[in-house]
Symmetry: C2
Subunit: 412 residues, 2 copies
């Protein structure tokens, strides 16, 4: 369960805009323009399909190799990291993402061919990193594309990758065309590899579904208020920091960075450059790094603190008095859980006192339901902010030029 | 070897300020106010000492447990990641940093007591995470503090941790008092664990030394020009992005974030809040995440692109024509090295075309000499920027309040 604390509704936000943003999102949902709103429901059907058709026949697989990048891996990695420590016997997932040859060699060395299932994920189907690495793996392991149990594909209906899959009779899963890559984690993109790895995906989906229902019933308006506050302060607070107090949020933070940065950073309807810059930090580590800049640097940031009430209460700081080190004895006998949560709250208090706008998201514990809730929360926050910024939240036209230039280099 | 490309000197920078910054740094060095300038030389002596006194007796150790946080680990991790793939038989280093109980449990599970050497690192000696985790490890493994071969300490002379070490006759190493934590990687903080793990630290130091000599001889003035450009544009470009095209730069990026953020984000002599916000990205992965925001979002960023000319030229994209996937065949037969470097340059070109100021740092390869050069480059760039911002580059007063609040929670 998640709790949200913030006082955005008492700050200067325009309630007319808030209402407008809600109606815009509602229209996107009702008209089917944006598909991720309905994934929690529709993907439950997919779970059943995977359960009955694939779970048993892949039971002896030990490693899942995911070949993808960006929206095709960030969400999977986020959930994998958040839930692995509580998921007994989850299978190993090896991610082939970057075109970095040193990484590819290291990842390839982790693959035992006989025990591995390869899942190729690309929404467009044409991602150069993904296809190049796929070719490398085919060549290295002599992957038989005719073997229907070795490779799975997730892509848009009709994409070149889907056509390739059909040509070889490779089993494939579809990303709905109205679901953008960075909003696709609850589609087959995330559901397929995570279920096959042994994660309880249905519970994640039900968590997301319940949050969505509350949002549409106007019981989570705080996120609309937060979006309105962020957008109306975009000029003086162009940077939004997420300060998460658990290492397990590292990959989730990266997922939010893509979602926030790529969705909102673009030209609006008046061709003005708008957007908000996301930064993901981990506490307490980054108290010893980035915090000084937040506290005393320019007041150009907002900070969301995220903490976990119950992570592992059995790990206690021993009642040990070491000579000369008495200074740290004030936490003796407390759990590390208590320490890290106190660090979160002390830091939040000091940041707020320095004049920075803060809010807080509290996880009772990191479980499937909360993960689902959190994913939908961030996606809806992004959609609402995009509506208020008057941008197309779901495209990414700015990255096309680089791809064209890349191709031109090789045509010389 | 590193090559630096940028045209900061032709942009509107104030050469009088550049000269002033150089003279300020020179005075800091000559008067001994700032100690890191001399570490490349002085730590070579430390290398000899470690070679003769510790290398042999720790030869059978298989794992080094580093207990520290912030400036006590970020630099070690950066070098570890950059050089591990080229360092044969480097010993495993396990980092105990965060007060996160789930991480501590996972890290503890990696320790085989008989084969492990523990190194406790804290400049002040009183870091609550470090001391609490150290107590946990003492209790878990029943570490004998009397055993002079099990624990080493790195701290300031006279700190409570140093006094503790002397009490138990634990071998300890000193961080010079004029070397700040985030500038300490080339002191015993980095030298001791990295040497014992088998890295060629002397070559790193010599790389740093040669870069320092060139800087003091005015052969690396480009970094002064860059600092002047960044500082004079701090209001309209408050965010500095480092976009590094190799996964091996992940931890190095985090090291630069601490160095840049914590050194420059503070109140200047007029009590004005100043500072520049660092962001570290990895290519090509973050082309699929953050790039859209750089290209089309607000023009409030500068971007430094970093690439490696020769990483692993033997990993070739196979000459394979897959039906329907011909779109990606334009890179067939090329190395992944060629692909990732082309991606870096294509992205840089597209970012520059969108009106963002870019510069470039090219590594011929990732080797010890270049790592040393790069460390000193970033430290000097930070010092020069701090001088131009008129801040005390070497303190971090903003984080004290949070520590006081933390203590007050436990005194209730």
């Amino acid at each position: 369960m998640l709790r949200f604390k913030g006082d955005f509704d008492t700050q200067e936000i325009d309630l007319v805009c808030v209402e407008g943003a809600y109606q815009l999102l509602k229209a996107e949902q009702v008209e089917g323009l944006v598909g991720y709103y309905n994934l929690p429901q529709s993907s439950l059907v997919l779970c059943d399909e995977i359960s009955s058709s694939l779970l048993e026949e892949t039971a002896r697989i030990e490693t899942i190799a995911v070949i993808g990048i960006g929206g095709s891996t960030l969400g999977i990695k986020a959930i994998d990291r958040l839930l692995r420590s509580k998921t007994a016997n989850a299978k190993k997932i090896v991610y082939f993402e970057n075109s970095d040859p040193v990484s590819i060699a290291q990842e390839t060395a982790q693959i035992e061919y006989e025990k591995t299932l390869f899942i190729v994920i690309s929404k467009s189907g044409g991602t150069v990193e993904t296809l190049s690495i796929f070719k490398h793996l085919i060549a290295t392991f002599n992957i038989s594309l005719q073997d229907s149990k070795k490779v799975l594909v997730v892509s848009d209906e009709g994409s070149i990758l889907s056509q390739f899959a059909d040509h070889y009779n490779i089993k494939r899963f579809v990303i709905p065309s109205n679901v953008g890559g960075r909003f696709s984690v609850l589609s087959a993109v995330g559901v397929l590899p995570l279920m096959l790895a042994g994660f309880d995906v249905a519970s994640i989906l039900r968590g997301a579904q319940s949050f969505g229902e509350r949002f549409w019933n106007r019981q989570e308006d705080h996120l609309l208020h937060k979006a309105a506050f962020y957008v109306s302060n975009a000029k003086n607070h162009p940077i939004n920091v997420l300060f998460s107090y658990s290492d397990r949020f590292e990959e989730f933070g990266k997922w939010t960075v893509q979602l926030w940065g790529e969705s909102l950073g673009k030209k609006n309807q008046k061709e003005e450059r708008v957007g908000l810059t996301p930064i993901s930090l981990i506490g307490s580590v980054d108290q010893h790094s980035f915090l000084q800049l937040i506290i005393e640097g320019p007041l150009n940031k907002t900070v969301t603190f995220m903490s976990v009430e119950h992570a592992n209460e059995s790990l206690i700081i021993p009642e040990m008095n070491l000579p000369f080190l008495e200074k740290s004895d004030f936490v003796n006998g407390k759990s590390f859980d208590t320490l890290i949560n106190a660090q979160c709250h002390a830091t939040m208090q000091s940041v707020a006192q320095s004049g920075v706008s803060v809010d807080e998201i509290i996880w009772e514990s990191i479980d499937e339901t909360s993960v689902g809730e959190m994913i939908l929360y961030y996606e809806l926050l992004t959609s609402a902010s995009g509506a208020l910024l008057e941008v197309d939240t779901y495209n990414q036209p700015g990255v096309e030029l680089g791809k064209q230039i890349l191709q031109s280099y090789f045509q010389k």
